[in-house]
């Protein structure tokens, strides 16, 4: 079973009020569900479908189009490491490999302690501060090995 937390329940009408058509709230509600649970479970899609009067299939169809929705539980910190051109030109591949070996996982995996999930990511609009990674909502730019060490060590 999935239910929105009372605080999130309260936000639903606020979100709906932004739009003349309730379906527009689909992405915001999926995002809210993911923030609450860490991922978007089938039950959450059913629940959102009920709220917005959409078939669960439709909800999944939309959710699966967007790469930011995780359909399975992830680590506490999701590291999105940009490897697109500007970052690549500035050594992102090597830093990504460094990060993976530091975390002792392969790209795409989650650490055994469920703390970190590491993904290769496309351009995140920080090109003039390449290389960069995004950890949850925070951008970390102008990366170097030392900087990565410091950032990862500071997270608990």
């Amino acid at each position: 079973m999935f239910e929105f937390s009372p605080a999130n329940q309260k936000r639903i009408p606020e979100i709906l009020a932004k739009y003349p058509d309730t379906q527009s709230a689909l992405l915001p509600l999926l995002t809210m569900a993911q923030r609450q649970e860490g991922y978007v479970a089938p039950q959450a899609m059913v629940e959102i479908g009920k709220i917005l009067k959409l078939s669960p299939g439709y909800v999944q169809s939309v959710a699966s189009f967007y790469t930011m929705y995780h359909m399975h539980p992830t680590g506490k910190y999701i590291i999105l490491f940009c490897i697109n051109i500007s970052c690549q030109l500035n050594g992102a591949d090597e830093l990504l490999a460094y990060t993976a070996s530091k975390l002792n996982i392969k790209v795409g995996e989650t650490t055994a302690d469920k703390k970190f999930t590491l993904h290769r990511e496309e351009c995140l609009a920080a090109c003039s501060n390449a290389p960069m990674m995004r950890i949850n909502d925070t951008y970390h730019e102008d990366l170097s090995k030392e900087k990565i060490d410091k950032i990862l060590d500071s997270l608990d």
Binding site: K18, Y19, P20, D21, Q23, S24, A25, L26, L27, P28, L30, T31, L52, L54, S61, V62, F65, Y66, T67, M68, Y69, L80, I83, N84, I85, S86, Q88, L89, N90, E122, C123, L124, A125, A126, C127, S128, N129, A130, R134, D137, T138, Y139
Partner: protein, 420 residues
């Protein structure tokens, strides 16, 4: 110095994102002038300024506004803050540093186009920018820059933020509309164009963040002033994200027509380790790359088009001679394969096939015929896909073969058929 700071003059001011600081710099000053004019006059001003869309296509902003279906209401304004084109990071700068400038620009556009509701569509990763914007909107509402009867003008306008969730294609305007309506971010058939049937099937203006941020300047200083900068057809200033192998990467606001050489060597401090320039991608990953000998091309719509590329979203990616171009091309091909929405056949299948071929070539398993085949595949995708993403995917591949075939040849199989 070729810098021309029309939008970014105060960008480094501390706490510019706060309303009080923004007002100190003269922020929201354009509104008094705005509300003295008739909506149509505002459109005429924007037309006269020569302002062209900064999101990629360079379509004249005032003209776009004048295309709205007559007498159909409500109408919507969507600000395109999806900024997903590799190499581009100028909108994020504006959004995070000066959100009120965008709000001010959106008010002007909405007033001119008789729009009461606006949305800012942020790419999903811009949570921080969107949070800042929500704060800014709250402040603006509190001072009646937004809401009912703005500053006693009788004009009502409200702005909402909306976050995507990870899809480059949602920067394409019709895919953006689908995404905002809670659908898969697949592009829509055109016609009807958004100006006729856009958001919720109503007439809709879609403009890039930077485009809208220019509007307060035009209202404040007059269109003539804006048009006095730049070239004949590319007016004003342009915010350019410079990245790659330069010493001082960053966002530089320049006068249109400044040369690429000036951008690289004066503003961005030259190539790292003083290496030689090999190639540059002038306007974001979708625009064809150009070789070093075209470094004196002026940075404006026409000159870059004449050189065989595009100004695009204004993202200059600089590549030095230490790189085999196939490597960069492969990376971009992988990006387009990842971002193709999958709706149309040439783009869905073609981007993957190009990537497969490039990957093989990059691994030393390619043949000369495969390089020719890549050229033909590019031709089969170009202008045949549903939306311009397919054409965008072709840009780097076709141009890299055109200018750097020797990089390909260096990687081809050295066995008999390979060299045949």
């Amino acid at each position: 110095m070729p810098e021309l700071k029309l939008l970014t003059k105060d960008i480094d001011k501390k706490d510019l994102h706060k309303l009080s600081v923004y007002e100190e710099t003269g922020g929201y000053g354009s509104l008094k002038k705005l509300f003295k004019k008739k909506p149509d006059e505002v459109i005429e001003m924007v037309k006269a300024s020569g302002l062209r869309g900064r999101g990629g296509a360079g379509f004249p902003a005032g003209l776009k506004w004048s295309f709205l279906a007559k007498d159909v209401f409500p109408r919507y304004l969507c600000c395109n803050a999806d900024e997903s084109e590799p190499g581009t990071c100028k909108d994020r700068l504006l959004l995070e540093k000066t959100p009120h400038l965008l709000i001010e620009g959106m008010i002007a556009c909405a007033y001119a186009c008789k729009i009461e509701t606006g949305y800012i569509y942020f790419r999903g990763e811009f949570q921080h920018a969107s949070d800042l914007m929500d704060e800014a909107l709250k402040e603006a509402r509190a001072k009646n820059y937004l809401g009912k009867n703005i500053m006693g003008s009788g004009f009502d306008f409200e702005i909402h933020t909306h976050l995507g969730a990870g899809a480059y294609i949602c920067g394409e305007e019709s895919a953006l509309l689908n995404s905002l309506e809670g659908r898969r971010g697949e592009p829509r058939l055109k016609p009807p164009f958004p100006a006729v049937e856009g958001l919720y099937s109503k007439p809709t203006v879609i403009n890039n963040v930077e485009t809208l941020c220019v509007v307060p300047y035009i209202i404040n200083e007059g269109p003539e002033k804006y048009a006095s900068y730049g070239t004949e057809k590319s007016k004003g200033s342009k915010l350019v994200s410079v990245s790659g192998h330069v010493k001082k990467p960053g966002n530089y606001e320049i006068e249109m027509g400044t040369t690429v050489r000036e951008l690289i060597y004066e503003l961005a401090g030259g190539i790292r380790n003083d290496n030689k320039l090999k190639a540059y991608i002038p306007g974001g990953s979708s625009t064809p790359m150009l070789p070093a000998d075209l470094v004196d091309t002026p940075y404006d719509y026409e000159s870059l088009a004449a050189a065989g590329s595009m100004l695009g979203s204004g993202a200059l990616i600089v590549i030095d001679d230490q790189v085999n171009i196939v490597e960069s091309t492969l990376r971009l091909a992988s990006f387009y394969k990842h971002e193709s929405c999958g709706k149309c056949t040439p783009c869905r299948e073609g981007t993957r096939w190009m990537w497969q071929l490039l990957d093989g070539i990059h691994n030393g398993e390619g043949t000369n015929q495969q390089v020719d085949k890549l050229v033909d595949i590019c031709d089969n995708i170009s202008f045949k896909s549903f939306c311009p993403l397919g054409d965008a995917a072709v840009g780097p591949v076709a141009s890299s073969i055109k200018y750097f075939r020797e990089d390909y040849e260096a990687l081809l199989k050295r066995n008999a058929e390979g060299t045949a």
